[in-house]
């Protein structure tokens, strides 16, 4: 009698489980995301150049221009204008002085974010951007600033450590260890300007950081690319539609 009761409860549990499983269906979905900026009025894009500063081993202006141009060539519908990178620091110094830059204008080095402030006035100079736009038949202009600075932080880090017991069985134990870590912070600000009018259409700012073990020697340039890789999808999503794949649960 008791065995029959146990058997029936097991069967009931199994049935309930089967019903629950059947009432939920997992399906793949692909969500299209519209671009944040309507760039339909443009057929060409000019990645002009960036105010850059921080780590001296990496020319963040040149590297960012190169990287964005190559990404836009492959992943956006706009044609990429291959032209010289703008000497934006000179133009910014000119904006600071209220006129054109001269050889005598001293250019203070940009080491951190706050050093950018006086230079950023250049982005408000509609006449300057319209003139650049006129040169290239009114494209969409991508400019902005890129700060790439070394950074270090020490503290406790949780790591997984492999251990083997007397019988040779492997297990992974989380351990907390004090570590000195070095890395980089990347803070780009992308500004999209209408080359026909010189007006700013859209701005995107990002902040990414990476930390490595202090004993590990990671070249600044590879850290720069590692960080840029993380934010490129968001940058591209500004100009072109994207689709995000995933799964969802349909229920009965």
């Amino acid at each position: 009698m008791r065995a029959a009761r146990i058997l029936s409860s097991v069967a009931a549990a199994f049935l309930a489980g089967a019903c629950a499983a059947a009432s939920v269906v997992e399906v793949p979905v692909e969500t299209p995301i519209k671009p944040k900026l309507d760039a339909s009025a443009f057929d060409r894009v000019y990645v002009a150049g960036f105010l850059a500063g921080g780590e001296e081993d990496v020319d963040a202006n040149i590297e960012t221009v190169r990287l964005l141009r190559s990404q836009l060539r492959n992943k956006a519908s706009l044609r990429v204008i291959e032209a010289d990178v703008l000497p934006l620091m000179d133009a910014a110094a000119g904006a600071q002085e209220g006129g054109a830059a001269t050889a005598q204008t001293p250019l203070a080095a940009i080491r951190e974010e706050k050093d950018l402030e006086p230079y950023e006035k250049v982005f408000e100079r509609k006449d300057y951007w319209k003139k650049i736009g006129d040169e290239y038949q009114g494209p969409l202009i991508v400019t902005g600033s890129v700060i790439f600075v070394p950074h270090q932080r020490s503290g406790y880090v949780q790591r997984e450590q492999e251990t083997y017991d007397a019988f040779g069985r492997r297990s992974v134990v989380p351990t907390r260890t004090y570590m000195d870590r070095k890395g980089y912070i990347l803070k780009p600000k992308f500004i999209f300007i209408d080359g026909r009018t010189g007006e700013t259409l859209h701005t995107e700012t990002f902040r990414e950081e990476v930390l490595y073990n202090a004993e590990q020697s990671t070249p600044a340039l590879s850290a720069y690319f590692e960080l840029m890789d993380r934010l490129l999808p968001s940058f591209l999503a500004t100009l072109s539609s994207q689709s995000i794949k995933g799964t969802r649960m349909l229920i009965r």
Partner: protein
């Protein structure tokens, strides 16, 4: 007087019973729409699925599953505002449903990314 009271009570019971039967019939019809929608969605026919689930929520506006599925279909179509509303309704109707909660978490990730705007 007692006979009148009994008659009123009987009428009320009859009305309640017929309403319950009508609700049950609506739920059954809505369930059929939901099932059909799931079948066609699995074949990638999302427009048809959307139509079925929209019909299901019309038939039974208290059917959380129909709202959840409709939200998924709206997501698939890129109609994120409509998806958000449908998920909210599904969660309101069935706040403890783990599948709805999971879908909403995944949806919010995408919605945040799509609606992320910078202060100018």
């Amino acid at each position: 007087m007692a006979a009148l009271n009994r008659l009123i009570a009987l009428t009320a019971c009859g009305v309640a019973l017929s309403a319950t039967l009508a609700d049950a019939a609506d739920r059954k019809a809505a369930q059929q729409q939901v099932d059909f929608g799931i079948r066609v969605a699995r074949q990638g026919l999302w427009r048809e699925a959307t139509y079925r689930w929209e019909r299901a929520v019309q038939l039974d506006p208290t059917y959380a599953a129909a709202y959840n599925n409709l939200a998924v279909a709206y997501e698939q179509a890129g109609a994120l505002d409509k998806a958000k509303q449908a998920y909210q309704k599904a969660a309101e109707l069935d706040p403890k449903n783990a599948s709805i909660k999971q879908n909403i978490e995944l949806f919010e990730e995408i919605n945040d990314r799509a609606s992320r705007k910078d202060p100018q």
